[in-house]
């Protein structure tokens, strides 16, 4: 059972330490998006990496369209992974939509989770009355359609030419094999689940120490969204990095690491 769970989510455990960091990637990619920041934690933490089912090298056969039609399916998987590894004193690090998954998990098992680190989280992407998520329904419909175009030559576009990386030839090899290489049908379904989610009401239920890392300019999760999350999670900290985009762990790994370390110290 345990082995099955770990295989299903392509779980990798590295590093050493009493405390554990579990990294959960967001929509559109897989665990490889953490590779610029995990080395900084391997010395003092056990680092757990996983691919959400349907992404990366997870077991695609485990993708059940009913189960993963809400974030609860992913949350259950995350909890199963933590249970399979018998983790305690865990800090969940969730990017974007996986911030929501981390929040849901932390509400269910307060006993095993110490901290939440939410990187560019968004409890809801769609604008509603009195809430600015940043997107309208039609934008998301456009996205679903656009995914068709980018997956038209799926297998071809996803095995692009690798730029040489003389220092780390093994890196290039791995990338060539597969990278953010997600099944188009699943990617569409996951896009719908991600961009139509609404976890605003869950924010208030968070009862553990929480850090929100936010980029100064982020088109997917604007600063106002970060501030909204901050205002709803009691006692949370908000760190705004002077960088733009939605992936500070890639665009500005050093500052991201620093913000995380500072938070974890106390």
């Amino acid at each position: 059972m345990n082995e099955q769970v770990l295989k299903r989510n392509n779980v990798k455990v590295i590093g050493k330490g009493e405390k554990t960091l579990v990294f959960i990637h967001g929509y559109g990619c897989d665990q490889s998006m953490w590779r610029l920041i995990t080395p900084a934690f391997e010395e003092n933490y056990q680092v757990v990496l996983l691919d959400l089912v349907g992404c990366g090298k997870s077991d695609e056969k485990a993708y059940d369209y009913d189960k993963y039609s809400t974030l609860q399916g992913y949350t259950d998987d995350l909890l199963e992974v933590c249970e399979a590894l018998e983790l305690k004193n865990v800090t969940l690090v969730g990017h974007s939509i996986s911030g929501n998954i981390s929040i849901l998990a932390s509400i269910i098992r307060k006993d095993i989770f110490d901290n939440l680190i939410l990187i560019c989280p968004s409890p809801r992407f769609i604008n509603t009355k009195n809430y600015h998520g940043g997107f309208d329904q039609t934008d998301i419909d456009d996205l679903i359609e656009a995914l068709d175009s980018n997956y038209l030559g799926w297998s071809k576009a996803i095995s692009p030419v690798i730029m040489g990386n003389p220092e780390k030839p093994e890196l290039a090899l791995e990338l060539e094999e597969s990278f953010c290489d997600n099944n188009p049908q699943i990617a569409k379904h996951f896009a719908k689940v991600t961009f139509f989610c609404d976890n605003r009401k869950d924010l208030e239920k968070v009862d553990i120490k929480t850090l929100i890392i936010q980029c100064a300019e982020d088109n997917l999760a604007a600063l106002t969204v970060g501030e909204f999350v901050h205002s709803k999670i009691t006692g949370s900290e908000l760190t705004v990095l002077n960088t733009n985009g939605h992936c500070p762990h890639l665009s500005n790994p050093n500052e991201t690491i620093q913000a995380m370390k500072q938070f974890l110290l106390y």
């Binding site: 990619c29 934008d139 175009s149 030419v161 992936c247």
Partner: protein
């Protein structure tokens, strides 16, 4: 000889048939070529150091850019053939394909991003049609699978529900048969006719059941020693052929390994040689030849007979169909060749038939070659 053209790189850059963008790692644009300005409708001063690449994207494009494009670019150093819509100054959209590479200094720091933008308006029409066609075919496939499933369950019910009544009829008929006058010519004819009909009915159900069984068995795939299988079956074939005073030859040749299911390979051979025996000609002594040889990817098994043959001009499209019989005098469900073909196909093989009425039939079966080792 001196060229009469002077190459001016700036000129080449500006007039290239695609848009060029040079941006900072965060996407802020530091240089573009004139072609890019021309097709987006902006003035140079409106773009340089004022716009970011994302400013040219739709909202949907923005999501893809932030959740996939930059991730791939950052981790891989390049992105190829990413499809976006670029928004012009007049708010119209053009479909484009974007390639980007990250330019780094010697110590691996990202300096800037080079991007080319190709207008694919014409290609997009074609692409849209392709997407529509693909979605349509996916939908049809789904419907077809659903229909097949229904058909199969219908066949199951039919096979099952017809079996009991015909056995009932048979039983009751045998019972009353003894009570019929045996000296009446007409009655005897009728009894014979009813018997044949019952037999035919049962054969049909049996064939149907067999066909369903084949569908439900997943063909296992293993390496099989074909020579061994043929050597094993041959004595049984030979006995039947000798009883008809015919000849049977199996040319085994070299050792041949096929990839497939042993149960399937055996029943395919039994069906085909069985047919040769069943449909022998009364005009001449039966002669059956089994010849095997290896091709590049396949092992070919030819079973040749000099039997009755099939009139292919009449039955060309029907030989491998269900419930088709080409000979009315002998019993049979008309399912034999259909099932045989299904089994061969389940093993990723092929089957061909050649036949001439009153001369004989030759069947070629191609099975996947197995590994030698």
């Amino acid at each position: 000889m001196e060229s009469k053209f002077k190459i001016n790189y700036e000129e080449l850059y500006n007039t290239a048939p695609c848009g060029y963008i040079c941006s900072q790692p965060d996407g802020k644009i530091i240089e573009v070529n004139n072609r890019f300005l021309e097709f987006t409708g902006y003035k140079r001063a409106e773009v340089i150091e004022r716009k970011n690449i994302v400013d040219f994207l739709t909202k949907a494009g923005n999501i893809q850019y932030d959740s996939s494009f930059v991730v791939i670019l950052k981790l891989q150093g390049a992105v190829r053939e990413f499809s976006f819509f670029f928004v012009r100054k007049d708010q119209t959209r053009i479909p484009v394909l974007v390639n980007s590479v990250e330019i780094k200094n010697k110590i691996g720091e990202s300096l800037f991003i080079q991007t080319t933008v190709f207008d694919i308006s014409q290609r997009k029409n074609f692409e849209n049609q392709l997407i529509i066609a693909r979605n349509k075919s996916a939908k049809l496939t789904e419907e077809l699978l659903e229909l097949n499933k229904e058909l199969e369950s219908f066949a199951h019910i039919a096979a099952h529900d017809l079996k009991a009544p015909i056995l009932d009829i048979e039983g009751h008929f045998e019972y009353i048969q003894d009570k019929l006058p045996s000296d009446n010519q007409e009655t005897t004819e009728s009894v014979k006719y009813i018997h044949e009909s019952i037999k035919q009915f049962k054969n049909t159900i049996e064939g149907l059941t067999a066909a369903l069984r084949i569908k439900s068995i997943q063909a296992t795939s293993e390496r099989l020693d074909l020579n061994k299988i043929i050597a094993d079956l041959s004595p049984k074939f030979l006995a039947k052929v000798l009883a008809l005073k015919g000849t049977y030859e199996a040319d085994l040749g070299e050792r041949l390994i096929v990839q497939g299911s042993e149960v399937f390979v055996r029943s395919v051979l039994q069906n085909i040689v069985g047919n040769s025996i069943k449909y022998h000609s009364d005009q001449r002594p039966l002669k059956i030849q089994v010849i095997c040889k290896a091709e590049r990817d396949f092992i070919c098994i030819t079973v040749k007979d000099n039997g009755e043959g099939i009139d292919l001009e009449l039955y060309k499209d029907k030989v491998f169909g269900k419930f088709n019989r080409f000979n009315s005098t002998l019993e049979g469900s008309g399912m034999g060749l259909h099932i045989t073909k299904k089994m061969v196909e389940q093993m990723n093989g092929k089957i061909y038939l050649e036949s001439k009425l009153n001369e004989g039939t030759s069947i070629l079966i191609k099975l996947r070659k197995g590994d030698e080792t």
